[in-house]
Amino acid sequence: MPDLLRLNGLTKAYPGVVANDDVSFDIREGEIHALLGENGAGKSTLVKMIYGLVKPDKGTMTLRGAPYAPSEPSAARTSGVAMVFQHFSLFDALDVAENVALGMENPPPRRDLAKQIRDVSETYGLPLDPSRTVGTLSAGERQRVEIIRCLLQDPKLLIMDEPTSVLTPQEVEILFETLRKLKAEGTAILYISHKLEEIRALCDHATILRLGKKVATCTPSETTARAMAEMMIGSSFASPAAKHTTPDEVLLRVDNLAMPAPGAFGTPLRGISFELRSGEVLGFGGVAGNGQDELLLALSGERTTKRGTIWVKGADVSRDGPVDRRAAGFLTAPEERLGHAAAPNMSLTENAVLTAGRRQQLVKKGFINWGRADRFAEDVIKRFDVRTPGTHVAARALSGGNLQKFVIGREVAQNPDILVVNQPTWGVDAAAAAAIRQALLDLASKGAAILVVSQDLDELLEISDRFGALNEGRLSGLKPVADLNMEEIGLMMGGAHDMEVAHVDA
């Protein structure tokens, strides 16, 4: 197959960091090409250059032999390059057709557009009703809107940025069928992901980026996931060692926890009940926006719930705030690092006081012992290999991964009896993620009860003893991880969310 897009020596530097350094590779017509790399490896910058959002400092691109230098996304779209972003840009209050029209240069009259949407969606096995309000769609269906918006422009190259992060395993299968069908018709796909098994299943070629440089190419189907992971991080790393404890007494009991949605776009919690035992790691999966954040708010004590719904070691803490819950040994770490788990402009020492004030005796009679706080922060930095010039540095100056290590480390270092974490390794490089998981397992080995809420199924399957899924604010039944397969997990997560399965005859 001839080359569709050639990248030649693309370089892009930002102050203090070279995002892309002399990156060259080719995407052939009709292939699914994976772009693989850790967070911060330069994947996003690279595709932004291809899509005309960022101008390269150096280097050229050719599209089907002709020079290609899009000055803005609309130029890229005109040349036949389309992109589906990881975060959707859709208006909840408008219907599907209106949203699609908003993304087009010259939208056709509504009736024609609705027909086109129907045609495209049937051709590619992406059933979608043009008159549905976007606010009522599931994450997978919203992604379809974005994909159809791209397909209507008949692209030659479709860029997909982490498309499966919001999908259940069933929905992923549907998406893959669509992508394979597109490929069969000659559309090339640049597929960005760090999920290695997916890439092995789907992609023809893979280009691996590390620290802005192209470090390897491979044929995923002939390479093991572990080998690709090592190319990605540039070294081998230890998989977390399993813990050897049997779950013991119940430390946390949640009994029929219900909570109205915190705002117009939140998810209400509906009758969540579970028990968490000493020495156990419980994993909650689920597509984002199915009540994870709300559950964390209820467990941390930021929102209190009805009496008798949350019990710690036999005591009802439902009406207690975060301070009292921490005093009882019940610690939490929310998903959002900056602004929620940590205050951006405050130093790491100050951020250590944020949750550890009482438990680590950093505060006495109302006065903060800054020396102690500094030593505690220092301790967290050392134990969790947080890369920072010192404890005086503002939280916002740390990279996402390093700050994540700090905010998780801050809770782990307090030796909680119960620890609830949301997305503990989100945006963290593979080695650091492994270290964080190991720390959680070690904590469980010492008798703590751990609840991990995550959208990374691989992570949950690796470290949890039992698994449950959140779906629309409800919790599925909990099952031992050892007995589970992907099919079951997908159904627990809500299956295909009533999305029709693709009927592709390719």
Binding site: P15, L53, V54, K55, S300, G301, E302, G321, P322, V323, R326, P334, E336, G339, H340, A341, A342, A343, P344, N345, M346, E350, V353, L354, T355, G357, V363, G366, F367, I368, W370, V393, A394, R396, A397
Partner: protein, 362 residues
């Protein structure tokens, strides 16, 4: 091209250097302005910044004025700054200042003409309570109904001004005042007078209280968990909730404290420099203190210096009008320049200026 680049964290050196740079810039541009209107720039600057303190003839009168004017500004600004740190915007200190003066004066006058050393302390407490209660109105409305404290506290200033006009010609009017509006002179009643503690320094009880407030605020913000919680609430409200800080309690504390301090400032003023409750008692200290709080970067020590600087430009400005005959508007312009430069150069604390070509569109 000049380009601003965000620093990873605020520069400590520039935090200290920017106010000095701003004063220098003000002197340069203010000097040019005075030159243009035909006054010697050097003389004008000297009259404003130097003469109030060191002029052989006038300093004796103007030097004490410095503390008299700076005292209430600092005391009010300290209270405001603590709320501002938490993102609670109390704009109504002027009203709290007036209500403090009225309540404190009222408590004292109720006992007139009794003689007791306990009357002034009682009046101080009553003044603080008056300011506190006035600030509790926006605080409770915000906690209970989510109203905007900026609007409520500001509107209550005008209510307070009307109450002031009413009581000074009614309830608190001096019965021996031959029908003129205004209360008895509290600075002439030995039980209530708030005199200079050290002669010819302007140092009265209110100034002392302001200095103590600076120290306590500094300790509160740097050492105490309550101050930490306040800063955390301002920096990252969600992180504060996660930490366990109650937003309602923070609102009540911050507004209450600001109100109490403003009320005390009003009481010290009415028993000392002003002497009586009168229609024109409200002198704008409550509003100027907002500027002082920001000039001082919401930092207690900064506020102390900003309060003194602000008082100096007021006194120096008056002196310049008197001695050099410069128009009042030019003094206001000069003060405006000072504010402009102080706030403008603040950008250097958080940004780095880069010269050279900027990068292409992102």
């Amino acid at each position: 091209m000049i380009r601003l680049e965000k620093r990873p964290q605020p520069s400590k050196a520039w935090t200290v250097a920017t106010p000095i740079l701003a004063v220098i810039l003000t002197m340069i541009f203010g000097g040019i302005m005075f030159g243009l209107i035909g006054t010697s720039p050097v003389e004008a600057i000297r009259t404003i910044f130097w003469d109030p303190l060191f002029h052989p003839q006038f300093a004796g009168f103007s030097r004490p004025q410095l503390l008299v004017k700076a005292g209430p500004l600092i005391l009010i600004a300290i209270g405001l700054s603590i709320g501002f740190r938490a993102g609670i915007w109390n704009i109504g200190a002027e009203g709290q200042y007036i209500m403090g003066a009225i309540c404190g004066a009222g408590a004292g006058l109720a006992l007139y003409p009794m003689e007791s050393a306990l009357i002034l302390p009682l009046m101080i407490v009553a003044g603080a309570l008056g300011g506190w209660a006035w600030a509790m109105i926006p605080a409770l409305l915000k906690v209970r109904f989510g109203t905007n404290e900026i609007l409520v506290s500001l509107m209550l200033v005008y209510v307070a001004e009307n109450i002031l006009a009413s009581v000074s010609s009614g309830l608190l009017r001096n019965p021996e005042g031959m029908g003129f509006p205004g209360s008895r002179n509290l600075s002439q009643w030995s039980s209530s007078q708030n005199l200079e503690l050290i002669p010819n320094t302007g140092m009265h009880l209110g100034v002392l209280t302001a200095f103590i407030a600076v120290i306590l605020a500094y300790v509160l913000l740097t050492r105490h968990i309550q101050g930490y919680n306040i800063r955390l609430t301002g920096e990252a409200p969600r992180a504060a909730k996660f930490s366990g800080v109650s937003p309602a309690r923070t609102i009540l504390f911050c507004l209450g404290l600001a109100g109490a301090l403003a009320g005390m400032a009003g009481l010290f003023e009415v028993t000392g420099p002003a002497g009586q409750v009168s229609i024109d008692f409200g002198s704008g200290y409550g509003f100027t203190a907002i500027i002082v709080a920001f000039l001082g970067r919401l930092h207690p020590v900064g506020i102390l210096l900003a309060g003194l600087l602000m008082a100096l430009t007021y006194i120096g400005g008056e002196l310049a009008q008197l001695m050099l005959g410069v128009p009042g508007a030019s003094i206001q312009l000069f003060q405006g320049m000072l504010l402009f430069f102080l706030l403008g150069v603040d950008v250097l604390t958080n940004y780095r200026v880069r010269w050279g070509t900027s990068e292409v569109a992102r």
